[in-house]
């Protein structure tokens, strides 16, 4: 059974694209056939984060306009079996595509793939409407900042108005040390406001920046804490029950040792 997941946030810069790249790679590593669709026409990034920028010949706009077949536009990621990217056009704008075309495209992709991950642009305008048009489920990404949470709240309202019930929340860039000092909103604070189910928490991790710049998703990095968090979210998307990571900064030496040897359940 295939599923269309839209990854959205409202606010920009909270990690939609990074999340899409990591979850897509994770699902592909788990043996699923996955396609990532970048709907951020005019400000595309997913191809850069995936390191596939230089392979683009056709894009989403070419597909919906009928200038090429879907298969021609799909870029196969040679590093991961079963992972494909449908890039956005860069020299066009959001109005080049409409929700009906997206719905049709999603239906078409559903026949081929197990998971269709849609990277939504920031904002609530045309691009957002296109991105959610064909979606079955939504993941709302937010960071522990008042402004991001405020935008996430608005997005959840819009998703529900568009019949996308039960969106899942992904909290990105959490810094446990700051939460402890009371300088950052905690997971509970955010859930209190947004009142939707949590699908995962990704800690702030320098390795994300490194991997994003390199075009290699962090999920493949066994040592990265963020990678671990994303791996857990992938398992949750596939329907497994996985306990949440414990981001306790002041772990004892023994705990760290256990973690290194994989004895500690994360």
């Amino acid at each position: 059974m295939s599923e269309v997941l839209v990854i959205t946030s409202g606010k920009g810069g909270v990690g939609k694209t990074t999340t899409t790249a990591n979850l897509g790679t994770g699902l592909a590593l788990a043996g699923c056939k996955v396609v990532l669709v970048d709907t951020d026409i005019g400000l595309r990034n997913l191809d850069v984060v995936m390191g596939l920028e230089n392979r683009i010949v056709y894009d989403l706009v070419d597909v919906v306009e009928g200038s090429c077949r879907v298969k021609q536009a799909l870029i196969k990621d040679k590093r991961y079996e079963g992972l494909y990217l449908l890039p956005a056009a860069q020299t066009r704008d959001k109005s080049a595509v409409n929700p009906q075309q997206m719905m049709k495209l999603c239906q078409e992709l559903k026949e081929e793939f197990d998971y269709i991950l849609i990277d939504c642009p920031a904002g609530i305008e045309q691009g957002f409407k296109n991105a959610i048009a064909g979606a079955d489920r939504a993941i709302v990404v937010t960071t522990p900042e008042v402004s991001a949470v405020r935008d996430a709240d608005r997005i959840i309202g819009l998703l529900e108005a568009n019949e996308l019930r039960n969106p899942k929340l992904l909290i990105n860039r959490l810094r446990m040390d700051m939460v402890k000092r009371g300088d950052m909103m905690s997971i509970d604070d955010i859930i209190d406001i947004l009142a939707i189910g949590l699908i995962g928490v990704v800690p702030d991790d320098e390795k994300i920046v490194v991997s994003t710049n390199r075009g290699e998703p962090a999920i493949t990095d066994d040592k990265a804490l963020a990678g671990q968090a994303y791996r857990n979210i992938v398992r949750r998307i596939r329907g497994e029950e996985v306990p949440f990571l414990n981001f306790n900064e002041d772990q004892g030496f023994v705990d760290k040792l256990k973690k290194i040897f994989g004895l500690k359940a994360n």
């Binding site: 005019g42 920028e53 230089n54 683009i56 860069q90 020299t91």
Partner: protein
């Protein structure tokens, strides 16, 4: 719309009287008389030929109008006749004419010379600069930016975006840049991308790309860099 019943238009050696076909002669005559009443003095003492168009006049009518103009303007009317030259094309028609010579499926061949577009400034991400002919960019082309030309592409700066020369099928087209590091390089239907291994930046090394046997070759065009 009474104003439009008659119109005068100045030409190099006289006047053109423009009338409407649907108005009867008496109305036209009356309007010419009125119009010249207000502006006729301007022509005083002048010698000119007058042509008319838009409506047929018989010999008698021609004579009447000619005399009228002569009387009202005090100008010497050398001759009065129908304007048989083709009406000047309107702005809209002019545009159509300009577009016509472009033929589809015949690709741009002038690689040594021909139409060239100059683009001044950086081509940033999301910008598409295209040319029906050669294209010269005075500035950089950043990643995400696209330059497309049916002829050659010359970038007087760093080429870090997508470039497509000979876009309508000319494999003889070349691409040259002061620093050639495109995300993707296309000449006609040959598409290449740089190797995945990161190369160390050599600084500005002017290079040129061309196609031989469906393979893209890149080489420096300055002997001192070879």
């Amino acid at each position: 719309m009474e104003e439009n019943i008659i119109n005068f238009k100045a030409t190099v050696n006289g006047l053109i009287l423009i009338m409407r076909e649907e108005d009867d002669f008496d109305t036209v005559y009356e309007h010419i008389s009125k119009k010249l009443e207000s502006s006729g003095r301007f022509f005083k003492g002048a010698s000119m030929s007058v042509k008319y168009r838009g409506r047929k006049l018989d010999a008698e009518q021609e004579k009447m109008v000619s005399e009228l103009i002569s009387k009202k303007t005090n100008a010497e009317i050398k001759n009065f006749e129908e304007d048989t030259s083709a009406p000047e094309p309107t702005a809209e028609e002019t545009e159509k004419v300009v577009e016509k010579p472009r033929m589809k499926r015949v690709f741009f061949k002038d690689l040594e010379e021909g139409v060239t577009k100059f683009h001044k400034g950086t081509v940033r991400s999301g910008k598409l600069v295209s040319s029906e002919g050669n294209l010269v960019v005075i500035g950089d082309v950043n990643p995400g930016g696209e330059v497309v030309a049916t002829g050659n592409v010359i970038v007087m700066g760093s080429l870090r975006g997508m470039v497509h020369a000979g876009a309508d099928g000319n494999k003889d087209a070349i691409i040259a840049a002061l620093c050639l590091q495109p995300v993707q390089l296309r000449i006609a239907d040959v598409i290449t991308r740089p190797p995945d291994t990161k190369e160390t930046s050599k600084g500005l090394v002017p290079e040129m790309a061309f196609v031989r046997d469906d393979l893209v070759y890149i080489e420096s065009f300055l002997p001192q860099y070879k």
